[in-house]
């Protein structure tokens, strides 16, 4: 199993390299460069020339990319074009802020949806099950952006005035005012949960119909033990993959949510950087998102293997 993990890690590094190259070339294909984007309407020929020179934008592309890659090996992500500060210093608080947001969403969404999924399976074809199915279908069909807007209208500006509608705090202190986090986290939870719920329900139904569960019941074990000790752990294996896909999605999906709530995380930083053609920041954020994808999927594989005794033993 450890060989498999090492093999996957190697692949992950290759993927990151390809991502960085593709993103670099894609930013070059965008019209306009950082100097023009930063100066905007005030771009006189003299000021563009001065800034291009200061940002080393006159170097050949291969040299620009090579410099950036060489810096990466010394863990130096370069300086932001837009504000001349080191990328790590600029992104640091934002990365933390985004991870707080995603972490809270993941910590809430995963157990809650597993429980709801399992409960639906137990109540199969009854009212509660139908209601869960309907709601999760609707939520799965709505883009997360729309869900967020609806929540703002319902809970902040339209009907009730219970929660702050946007985030007006600073990235370095996102937990200072937890109420501002509720809506963004809730939106993310609603966005990632439906597939997990549906998968858990399906998986649980399958397990509950299996012979060993019948055997356990025939043995006279209490239903509670049958469900939570025998059925649930075996149902989680297949769900792990879905959870991984959903949590991996979080890293990218957070972009739209951060924009909606003006949340100062990596998503807003990425949108900002694309507008200003701030290549070092774009590279850093996309690599980070890709890294989250890779790590989460790797973890899912490990959990999937660990949950399957046959594989666990044979792959030793």
């Amino acid at each position: 199993m450890s060989r498999l993990i090492l093999y996957r890690l190697g692949y992950g590094l290759l993927t990151l390299f390809v991502v960085s190259l593709v993103v670099f070339l894609a930013t070059q294909a965008l019209p306009g460069d950082a100097a023009r984007a930063i100066l905007g309407r005030d771009a006189t020929a003299e000021r563009v020339a001065l800034l291009r020179d200061q940002l080393n934008l006159n170097d050949p592309l291969a040299v620009q990319y090579g410099k950036w890659l060489a810096g990466l090996f010394t863990l130096d992500l370069g300086d932001s074009f837009a504000n001349a500060r080191p990328v790590s210093e600029y992104l640091g608080p934002r990365v933390t802020a985004s991870f707080v947001l995603m972490g809270l969403a993941a910590l809430i969404a995963t157990p809650v949806s597993l429980l709801i999924g399992a409960y639906s399976a137990l109540r199969r074809d009854r009212a509660a099950d139908h209601a869960t199915s309907a709601v999760s279908l609707v939520l799965a069909a709505l883009p997360e952006f729309a869900v967020g807007i609806l929540l703002i209208l319902l809970l902040s500006t339209g009907w009730l005035h219970l929660l702050p509608p946007v985030f007006a705090g600073s990235a370095s202190a996102v937990l200072a005012d937890p109420a501002q986090l509720i809506l963004p986290v809730l939106t993310l939870v609603l966005a990632v949960s439906p597939p997990i719920i549906r998968m858990m329900r399906a998986s649980m139904i399958e397990v509950l119909e299996s012979e060993y569960v019948q055997q356990a019941r025939l043995k006279g074990l209490p239903e509670r033990v049958v469900v939570w000790r025998h059925a649930a752990p075996n149902a989680i294996g297949p769900v792990a993959q879905v959870i991984a896909v959903q949590l991996g999605w979080l890293a990218g999906g957070v972009v739209a949510i951060e924009f909606l709530f003006a949340f100062p995380g990596i998503g807003l930083a990425l949108m900002d950087a694309i507008t200003t053609r701030d290549i070092p920041v774009i590279q850093a954020v996309t690599l980070l998102i890709a890294l989250v994808y890779i790590v989460v999927n790797l973890l899912a594989d490990v959990v999937g293997l660990a949950a399957n005794p046959k594989v666990r033993v044979s792959a030793r």
């Binding site: 019209p31 100066l39 005035h161 702050p164």
Partner: protein
Amino acid sequence: MPPTPADSEHPVPRAASAPSRRSVLMAGAAGAVVVPALSACGGGGSSGAGSGRLRVGVAGGSAEDTLDAHKPTDNTDIARAHNLYAGLCYFETDYSIQMALAESIEPNDDATVWTIRLKPGLTFHDGSPVTADSVVFTLRRVTDPDILGIGAPQLATMDRDNIERVDDRTVRVPFSEPYVTLLDLLAEYSMGIVPEDYDPDNPVGAGPFKLMEFTPGQRSLFAKFPGFWQEGHPRIEELEIINFPDETARVNALLGGQVDAISQLPPSQIEVVRANPNIETLESESGMWTPFTMRVDKAPFDDVRVRQAFRLIVDRRQMVDQALAGYGSVGNDIYGRFDPAYVEDKLPDQRERDIAEAKRLLAEAGHGDGLEVQLVTGPITPGAVAAAQVFKEQARAAGVTVNLKQTNSTEYYGENYLQWTFAQDFWATRNYLSQAAQGSLPDAPFNETHWADEEWVDIVNEARRTVDEEERNRLIQQAMAIEHERGGYIIWGFVNTLDAFHRKVKGLEPSVTGHPLTSYGFHRVRIEE
């Protein structure tokens, strides 16, 4: 300072309604939520920070936010520059120029040498005195080839090596040519006076507020500067400027009580905001214009008849109503609306839509069978894309097919900026000669219409040398008439600025400068809980 239920104890002159259940609910929720945030992130703020802090949501802002006094680009930069720095003079709300740090700024007989005299006893935020040396340093910094401030092109004729410090409060600035509009430049927000040891990363100015915290792309926090030149100002203890690039988030923040004022209320949200009795809107006329730009040196616009026809195509009232949702006024193809020379009686009559005449001119120019043009548009300023769409529809009646080329603003201001044949732009309030130096003279940095009419250039250059105001205004009126007849701009309207704030915020008033919230004049603001 979230709304508290106590608000209702103060009678409100305008909307004297009892607090509704909704407003009390909102007040409670917002109060519970926002106060801890303030005390937590106030940094060095005093314990009473809550009562004297104005929180403003400003449109725009990004990672490229800067505090550099001489390079403010985005709206949030401009908002900070207005509050962190003070210039020698400034634009009042009616666009008249008043002295700020300067006591007087006087030209010699032919406006080739200007003498600046400072007010006595002025200091910067760090307590050091504002002296003649600071003025010399500032003028040199703006024009430094390694810095190139926004104002540098307008100081191209300044003899920067021979600026003379006469005494501690007096500076003499020589120019290689007569320069009558220097005051227009010195009053700009990008001309703040800074000390000789100025460091943009730790900026010191003489504006009403001094910097406490700054996070690019997010927010900045300022504290009252008691030594501000304007006696009795500022009236609040702290100022917080928060970036809100997205207009929905900006409006929501105001409705949710997370900010006290916002700039640039989108017209689509006016009804929502006006429905809230705690929020007031501030509308003011401005000299900001959002023209169509026709390159006079490129077909088909190199034929003056085509330009005239295009100007006759526009139904200006309809365009203001649709593109600006009615928040604007009709233009007459002449900029510099608040210039002392802009006197309607002495200028050509308002141009009205005349399709028959437009068709006749187009036919004369050889386009009797119809004309197809490409119009480059993009979200460069609110209403720009809508105006392009309205023009496309209006042009149909004259047999002109307009193909819209949609760009985003980075592409719009990319390599082809100032080279588009038929496009759009936006300009702030300016006096005529200053605007001409920016966008219409052959050597102007942003001459997007490539206008170089010889007769006009001669008149404008003469006006730029004429110190006598009456004579200068007469020349300007001649120049205005020429641009009205054959220029490359279609100036269909002027934009009204629209802001919103909680009713406890007092002291903001309409201002024609085009900069929101009384030119970000937060030193005027009082907060009445």
